[in-house]
């Protein structure tokens, strides 16, 4: 199996969480001799090459960070330039996001099924998982912890050719957190998580409080 993989994030490759996820996913997917080509939407200079690869491929996987409940504007701009497929192409998706609960990604997922159809492709399903905001800020060890589960999903995709298996569906985790978990996580939001964000900001050179109001 040969798969065309497009990272739909507008964030440059070096900082893209999707890119780190794809590193692990493709490790698993390619174990049995499968191959892939990878492209980034963030690199506008490569759009002609991505279009050509799309035209020539019948197994397409687009990996997407959720942007305001759907696909990023830049990815949309690219997709608008494509000619819908007429053959037997399949389009599958990895959808990942900041918020952690499955319910947060369902509206985006619903669009992807429509998108595949609008591009004349058979829908190969979507691998849905949130809670990925911090990947770009993690050290190597914690990043490996966060992304390595995707290797197994790569194996699963290689075996099934789509994301419709129960294993892929279970990968999402809880649709919504139970109330006691929310209380606990809510407490962390006000303490440890808030501190983490301040630290992330400092790593970027931030000198203001994160709730600063520049325009009021």
């Amino acid at each position: 199996m040969h798969v065309l993989i497009i990272n739909g994030s507008p964030r440059i490759k070096k900082f893209s969480n999707t890119d780190k996820i794809l590193d692990e996913f493709t490790k698993g997917m390619c174990e049995g001799g499968n191959t892939c080509d990878r492209y980034e939407i963030s690199d506008k200079a490569s759009w002609d090459a991505i279009r050509k690869a799309y035209d020539e491929s019948d197994n397409i996987l687009i990996a997407i960070p959720l942007y305001v409940e759907c696909i990023p504007g830049l990815l949309m701009e690219f997709l608008e330039t494509l000619t819908p497929k007429t053959g037997n192409a399949k389009m599958s998706f990895i959808l990942q996001s900041g918020f952690a609960e499955g319910v947060q990604l369902r509206c985006g997922e619903a669009y992807l099924e429509r998108l595949a159809k609008n591009l004349g492709c058979e829908y190969g399903g979507t691998l849905v998982k949130g809670g990925n905001f911090e990947i770009r800020f993690l050290n190597d060890e914690n990043r490996a912890k966060a992304t390595s589960p995707y290797a197994d999903m790569g194996r699963e995709f290689a075996a099934c050719g789509n994301f419709n298996s129960d294993k892929c569906k279970a990968f999402t985790g809880p649709e919504i957190f139970p109330a006691p978990v929310r209380v606990l996580v809510g407490f962390f939001f006000k303490t440890a998580v808030r501190k983490n964000f301040i630290r992330d900001g400092e790593s970027l050179g931030c000198t203001r409080p994160l709730d600063y109001k520049p325009y009021s």
């Binding site: 507008p10 504007g73 997709l79 608008e80 609960e101 900001g201 050179g205 931030c206 709730d211 325009y215």
Partner: protein, 169 residues
């Protein structure tokens, strides 16, 4: 104030809107964004973590952002593509992030970002063209509004301006 951002190059919709809003004594601020320079969001996270509240991209969206924080309603007029709004319409939603902060809380059982300026504008959509799946867009605007802890004003076809204006109060 009702902020209306027209991301299409067709100003006949906004002319009609302006007329009807004046007749109904509605305080609208219309931005013709079709001719403005508005980039996509590049996902740098600077508006949350490096220069809180400020977008790193210095283009015409900054002016919209400054209006948005005082608006009661945010209406976007957009062309459609691939069953959704086109990239110009989507970009003015993606670029909204500076009005939220990085900080998190739970609202109605789901994670949300804490607002930077207090109450955010309700959200409405006016669409041009027939490439959109209206039922899906209605669901999407509901979700987008949920992220702002505001409400959806609905999705209207450009031929239904009157109905849209009737929600502007």
């Amino acid at each position: 104030m009702i902020l209306i951002v027209n991301t299409t190059s067709d100003t006949s919709v906004t002319e009609e809107l302006r007329k009807q809003a004046e007749a109904g004594n509605v305080d609208v601020d219309i931005v013709e964004a079709g001719s403005l320079k508005i980039s996509h969001c590049i996902g740098c996270n600077y508006c949350w973590l490096k220069t809180p509240g400020e977008c790193a991209i210095k283009d015409d969206y900054e002016m919209i952002l400054k209006k948005l924080i005082h608006a009661d309603q945010y209406w976007v007029i957009s062309d459609t593509a691939l069953g959704f709004i086109d990239h110009k319409g989507k970009n003015v939603f993606d670029r909204i992030l500076p009005i939220l902060t990085m900080n998190l809380k739970f609202v109605k059982g789901q994670m949300r970002h804490i607002s930077r300026y207090g109450k955010n504008a309700d959200v409405g959509l006016i669409i041009r063209g027939d490439a959109a799946d209206k039922e899906y867009l209605e669901r999407w605007v509901e979700r987008a509004a949920l992220n702002l802890e505001s409400k959806s004003l609905g999705v209207f076809d450009e031929s239904k301006i009157k109905e849209a204006v009737s929600c502007m109060c």
